[in-house]
């Protein structure tokens, strides 16, 4: 196994471990957060042309 592959294997292990921690803590960088802004009006209705 080449040095690159070894490093990539360690990297994948890190990704899997991070995923395990994220699953355990229910974490996601894509989760919804924050209240609606005070100026959030007027953006309704269909965008269909």
């Amino acid at each position: 196994m080449s040095r690159h592959s070894l490093i990539f294997g360690v990297f994948c292990l890190g990704v899997v471990m991070l995923s395990v921690f994220a699953i355990r803590d229910g974490y996601s960088p894509f989760a919804s957060a924050g209240a609606r802004g005070p100026m959030f009006f007027g953006g309704y209705g269909p965008t269909h042309k």
Binding site: H4, L18, S32, G45, H48
Partner: protein
């Protein structure tokens, strides 16, 4: 059969050498004087050598005549080969001595060929393309046709690489078993398989086949004690193995294992658990309504919380949903929002629909504890281009249990149209985005290696694309 009679100049001590040291062989070099310049010419393979090129003046001498008659004079300054004539080295367990050197060109690329000699093995070639070395041995058996797909030799299949091309000798020095001379032109056809090339040379009705095996990086340099070359793959040889191929295989194997592990870990995380669910009516274009779902209990640690709204009866209207998950103990709140909306109509293309009646909000990494979820709903009717904004805030009051406060608005208050909205709260489960992100991150390296491999193969076959269009061979790698 042993090669002891031809040991390298300064061989590294090996266990074999320590146990059975070879006796220094008697010199077989026959010194003679060049009839053109008077310089000393050494004939190392007397008896087999046909022509000698004087290393002092470059004249081609006839080694078969006792007085070394001059075949051709040369006045140009001689180059010194990187590996000096007479140097000995061990390649693949055989000791070879450099007896001749020539430079050849196909009018685009120039390379060097060292003629090697071993009294037991005969002659071989060390071909130097400027990057890597190849060991060339003459085939003693003709290659056979491989069902019209190329050639077979020594149990390997070779495919033709490009069209035949002329090869000219542009420099020559040393001794050769043929009448080597500058200007000699042969017609060469290459057949390749990864790591090996079959070179077919046609010269004045005579055809020779040479098998060229690419040596490992540094192998020839170590054998002949010259400076090692840096690995670089900007212009690979036609038969050069892609250094990225094994790396690509390993990267994909590791990547697939990591991806499967990721899925298994995600599958073991368990499914979502319903914490609370309730339904209320929102009045279109009515005042805001506040709904409180009390006692949302999250286990110790941190959890994912998903809040779903379902307003399936929405039509050309929307409902703003503002959420506030408030810790009963600390009164810390986590705010979020969603919009349930649905629009439909007809235009020149036919009927259309748009919007999501079931918006979902995901809250990440919520600490364990007891919470209240405050939901503020504001429903509106869409009236074409102009639409109304949110109604003024109304007073709200919290109610015990999993009930809701309507701020004084009933389902039919004000005579407005009501829309039932169901709000559910779940905890646990896995964020799909995390899995996709993990897969993308894992894929980065295999894709980089794939592009490197494809780039290498493209450069390896570049000579084909720049040459004739009727040959697309060489794709055996």
């Amino acid at each position: 059969m042993s090669d002891d009679t031809l040991a390298p100049d300064n061989p590294a001590p090996t266990p074999e050498a320590l146990t059975a040291p070879p006796a220094p062989p008697p010199s077989t070099v026959k010194p003679v004087n060049c009839p053109n310049c008077g310089g000393t010419v050494e004939i190392r393979v007397a008896g087999t050598t046909v022509s000698v090129i004087c290393s002092h003046c470059g004249s081609t001498l006839d080694a078969t005549s006792p007085d070394l008659q001059v075949i051709a004079k040369a006045d140009e300054a001689l180059k010194t080969p990187e590996i000096p004539l007479g140097t000995r080295g061990v390649i693949k367990g055989r000791t070879w001595e450099v007896v001749g050197y020539q430079e050849r060109t196909d009018e685009e690329v120039t390379w060097a060929e060292y003629l090697l000699f071993n009294p037991y093995e005969g002659y071989a070639f060390l071909v130097d393309d400027g990057r890597r070395f190849n060991l060339g041995l003459l085939l003693d058996k003709l290659p056979t046709s491989n069902w019209g797909l190329g050639l077979s030799a020594d149990g390997q299949n070779f495919s033709r690489f490009g069209d035949p091309y002329p090869v000219h000798t542009v420099f020559v020095v040393g001794e050769f078993y043929w009448r080597a001379a500058v200007g000699e032109t042969v017609q060469e056809t290459d057949y390749v398989t990864p790591g090996t090339m079959l070179a077919c040379e046609d010269y004045q009705g005579e055809r020779t086949w040479t098998r060229l095996d690419m040596l490992e990086w540094g192998e020839a340099e170590t054998a002949f004690r010259i400076a090692k070359r840096r690995k670089e793959y900007s212009s690979p040889a036609p038969h050069e193995r892609s250094p990225y191929k094994s790396q690509l295989f390993e990267a994909w194997v590791i990547g697939v294992i990591a991806a499967v592990t990721l899925f298994l870990v995600s599958g073991m995380a368990g499914s979502q658990q319903r914490i609370a669910s309730t339904t209320t009516d929102a009045v279109l274009d009515g005042p805001e309504k506040t709904l409180v779902i009390k006692d949302v209990v999250l286990p110790p640690g941190r959890s994912r919380v998903e809040i779903d709204a379902d307003a399936t009866s929405l039509d050309n209207s929307w409902v703003d949903l503002d959420y506030s998950l408030t810790d009963q103990k600390t009164q810390d709140s986590i705010d979020s929002y969603g919009t349930a909306e649905f629009y439909s109509g007809t235009d020149s293309d036919g009927s259309w629909t748009e919007g999501d009646r079931k918006p979902t909000v995901d809250l990440s990494s919520i600490p364990g504890g007891r919470y209240d979820l405050v939901v503020t709903l504001s429903a509106h009717k869409w009236n074409g281009a102009g639409s109304s904004s949110s109604a003024p805030v109304t007073d709200t009051s919290l109610m015990g249990g999993h009930g809701f406060a309507d701020g004084g608005w009933g389902s039919s208050s004000g005579g407005g149209v009501t829309v039932p909205v169901t709000v559910t709260v779940d905890r646990g489960g896995v964020f799909g985005g995390n899995i996709i992100l993990g897969l993308l991150v894992i894929l980065i390296w295999p894709i980089i290696v794939l592009f490197r491999h494809l780039g290498f193969e493209k450069r390896r076959k570049a000579v084909l694309s720049s040459g004739s269009d009727d040959d697309d061979s060489g794709s055996d790698d």
